[in-house]
Amino acid sequence: MDYTNQIREIATKLFAEGKIDVFVGYRTTGFDGNQVPVLINGPGEADRLVFTDQSVFNLVNYLKHEHTRRKRVGLVVKGCDSRSLNLLLTEGQVKRENLYVVGIACEGVVDEKGEKLQNCTECVVPDPVVADVVLTPAGIRAGTPAPAVPKPYNVNPDVEKLLALPLAERTEYFEEIFESCIRCNACRHSCPLCYCAKCCIDQETATLYHGANTTSSAFHALVTWSLHLAGRCVDCRNCEKACPRGLPLHLLHKQNEQVIYRNFQEHLAGVVEGDRGAFYKYSLRDPDDFIM
């Protein structure tokens, strides 16, 4: 999977035609072929852009930044990224007409060791659900993609393993995680769907009875955060990549996603245009047996 040339061409063309002000893509760092996001402002910088199976980050996160907010933006998205973009569009955070979306028919990205990432092995919607042009192994396909048909759902083995543990062991496992958290909030900043003006966990009412940097504040913050992403999280795992303590944050999101998928008509976040997430609708057939 290497679309470097195509993306450079597209970016150059877009700048030349005056369609965009800024292009968000990936560049190499020079170390181990690692890549980081890059914002380029003109055709002259287009040769900095790359795209390989090491282009792991979800660039949609950069749409909430000051550099892009009031501008026309070109953007590279993979399947999962496009789902989060779909949600941002539905929630009115970005305007479609200001975007030129370069979709990638994603075959999965890899970590430093060259192994396919876990979320890519579990991916149900590899093709972008929203794009102006889609880059596929067969060539460039223009136009908005057809509605995505999700592949069979895969349960997350880590979540399943934990669920199989006795409650006390699970308690211990997570206590350690919440103890390790340093409340740096990098997870939140890296999340494309966290765009609130002031996050609820920083507001006075929420912090009042916690103190700042304690296990219990970490528990409160992460649980609340994951519930705000429940039914919206697209499993791009930007948060996990951003976490300086390397905490397995995907566990919280995957647990919620699985409960939602199983109970609420196989709901998957951001796949359908206009869908706001599982908590913003309901069905009369929702499970009721857990309620006395």
Partner: protein, 657 residues
């Protein structure tokens, strides 16, 4: 710093017997913010309220906690006391130490006292976060919608319209009049139903403040008290009412015969028809289901004979909208189908009929011109058995409630039978005679004397055929013996049930109904005409079985309620509704999506102070918001809060236990 006053009520012995009230007061005094705490025998009494008023002034209190009964009981009383003392009434909190402590922990005074202390602490903590709130005024559309054109709907519409308030009267069938139009004479005065009803029907049609929409149904009701918007479907009548003169040529010539609903199927009407001669409006409609022109495209006779050319086979259903401020629901009742009484041979024996069928027969404009006959052979019956409580008071086969009117109309039927067939004899099987009402007992007594009807107290167990007679076997419980009556005709007083489409109607209006399908009043005793939804009222049998005088009384009560609602130019509204902090709102519009009332809209505000760039935020429509808090809980950035139940208030309660 907050200055809270706490007032703990003994409620006579109700609280004091199970909670150590003085100890609660002592404990509450330890809270830093509590500047005044006192106990009293009856806080809700005048001296009790005076204590609160005095304490507010003397101690410069900033909020008040009353520990007493449930806030659902006396919250309003104490709020009033606060405002009388010049304090904002919403600075009150009630700690429910009666229903939630003294009454439910009567065996453990220590635990009940501790719990009462906690409940007081929670209320104090919450009250510290209380804010001043002010009643909201919303504009009101002064037009009422009346659903159902029976006597209840007619009465309500006329009374409201007489107060010069416009009324929209929606009736499902082609004519107003309802069940009362099918009756012959009415108890207990035996005045002719048509004679007293038809003038009212004509009044409805000619009243300048009533818009009569017959042959139509309410499809949708949106909005809130004072500001509803109703969608009404006018069914295609295939007759242009504007040009139709009501001459009747069409239905005289129509070749299709259909069982006549007005006469309980005892005779036939045509496919184009007016339901009965005195119908209002007196314009025919085409029954599309049976019209051969509309079904098969063959016929067209009515169009040919219609001089003004009023017939229009291409007519379609039409949906119209009306803005209204209040609704009166008067959809009447259905009659219970007696099929489960198989031991009576219901369905097998033609000479077993229901009371309404009997009513049509003895009616002067009925299918038999007022003479009761046996459906099997057309002979005039001599011995008629009336059986009461068919379906009523019968949990096994029917429903457990009493239908209330059957005792009286059966008595009336014995009289009518006696009038029409002089040598006839009535037998009445009854469980009890329930004749509670003005002149009712006298009516029953007089009927028994005049008609010499045989009253048999007991249930009928079996009806079988012997020759062309029906043998009715039952128990006469007063002599303790089984009796058999040889009957020519058996009349079943079938139960009154709710209209079968009430649940559907209730759902679209957003009101509730009971397990029998009757619409629920807000309070069985004190608010019998209101529903739980503000601005929607109930009249007549749609709420519960009742007779004509009661129905009319309830309809007039509805009218009074509607007029009262429309008395001012605005409605006062509880201020406990959602508010948006636009600073934190990110404009995701999820709240717009979940609000069940459509009370949230979007607004544009500048990005920053003086900025020309705009961003989208949520905005609450104060008049529409009902204060459920759905939007608050789904708002991720905590930009919405619900006045009276804010996050700080609830968190204060949680942490202060």
């Amino acid at each position: 710093m907050a200055r809270v006053g706490v007032f703990v009520c003994f409620c006579g012995a109700n609280i004091a017997d199970y909670v150590d009230v003085p100890q609660v007061v002592e404990e509450v005094k330890k809270i830093r913010e509590v500047k005044y705490a006192v106990e009293y025998k009856y806080m809700c009494s005048d001296p009790g309220q005076q204590m609160i008023r005095d304490a507010i002034v003397n101690n410069r209190l900033t909020s008040v906690v009353v520990a007493a009964c449930s806030p659902r009981m006396h919250e309003k009383t104490f709020r009033k006391a606060l405002s009388d003392a010049g304090m904002n009434p919403y600075l009150l909190e009630v700690a429910n130490i009666r229903e939630h402590s003294s009454w439910v922990h009567q065996k453990d005074k220590k635990a009940a006292t501790e719990k009462a202390m906690d409940l007081c602490r929670m209320a104090v903590a919450k009250s510290i976060a209380n804010e001043q709130l002010f009643e909201i005024s919303v504009p009101v559309t002064k037009r009422a919608l009346v659903i159902g054109g029976g006597i209840a709907g007619i009465q309500a519409a006329l009374d409201i319209a007489d107060a010069r308030i416009p009324v929209v009267l929606v009736e499902k069938s082609p004519s107003i009049g309802g069940k009362m139009a099918q009756l012959d004479e009415t108890f207990p005065t035996l005045d002719c139903s048509q004679c007293i009803l038809t003038p009212k029907m004509v009044d409805v049609a000619s009243h300048p403040f009533i818009e009569l929409i017959p042959y139509s149904e309410v499809l949708e009701l949106q909005g809130f008290v004072g500001n509803y918007k109703a969608k009404i479907r006018k069914k295609a009548s295939y007759v242009n009412f504007k040009t139709c003169t009501g001459c009747g040529a069409c239905w005289q010539k129509c070749p299709v015969k259909v069982p006549n609903e007005y006469n309980m199927g005892l005779d036939k009407r045509r496919a184009i028809y007016t339901p009965f001669p005195q119908a209002v409006p007196n314009k025919p409609v085409i029954d599309a289901e049976h019209c051969t022109m509309l079904q098969k495209g063959k016929c067209g006779i009515c169009a040919k004979v219609c001089q003004p050319g009023a017939i229009d086979y291409t007519m379609q259903d039409e949906v119209i909208e009306r803005e209204i401020g209040a609704v009166v629901v008067a959809t009447g009742y259905d009659l219970w189908d007696p099929k489960p009484y198989e031991e009576y041979g219901v369905g097998r024996f033609k000479d077993i009929i229901t009371s309404l069928e009997f009513e049509r027969m003895v009616s002067a404009n009925g299918p038999t011109n007022g003479v009761p006959v046996r459906p099997s052979d057309g002979k005039v019956p001599k011995n008629v058995v009336f059986i009461k409580c068919i379906g009523s008071r019968d949990e096994a086969k029917g429903i457990e409630y009493c239908s209330k009117i059957c005792c009286m109309y059966t008595t009336k039927h014995t009289i009518l039978l006696h009038h029409k067939v002089h040598d006839s004899h009535s037998y009445v099987f009854y469980m009890d005679i329930r004749a509670a009402g003005k002149g009712y007992e006298e009516f029953v007594h007089k009927a028994q004397v005049d008609t010499h009807a045989t009253y048999l107290r007991g249930r009928v167990s079996k009806i079988y055929k012997k020759g062309d007679k029906l043998m009715v076997r039952g128990e006469d419980a007063q002599i303790g013996q089984v009796v058999e009556v040889e009957a020519d005709l058996v009349v079943l007083a079938t139960a009154v049930t709710s209209p079968h489409d009430n649940p559907e109607l209730a759902r679209l209006l957003g009101i509730s109904y009971d397990k029998h399908g009757f619409l629920s009043e807000a309070h069985p005793k004190l608010r019998p005409v209101e529903t739980a939804k503000a601005g929607i009222f109930l009249a007549g049998c749609t709420q519960a079985p009742k007779d004509i005088p009661e129905t009319v009384a309830q309809a007039s009560a509805c009218a009074a309620k509607v007029c009262g609602l429309f008395a001012g130019d605005t409605l006062k509204k509880d201020p406990m509704i959602s508010t948006v902090n636009t600073e934190f709102c990110s404009g995701c519009q999820n709240c717009v999506n979940v609000c069940p009332y459509g009370a949230i809209v979007t607004d544009e505000v500048p990005f920053g102070h003086g900025s020309k760039e705009m961003r989208t935020v949520a905005k609450i429509n104060e008049g529409v918001c009902q204060g459920c808090g759905s939007c608050v809980a789904i708002c991720r950035s905590m930009a919405i809060n619900l006045a009276g139940f804010t996050d700080p208030q609830i968190i204060n309660e949680i942490v202060s236990i």
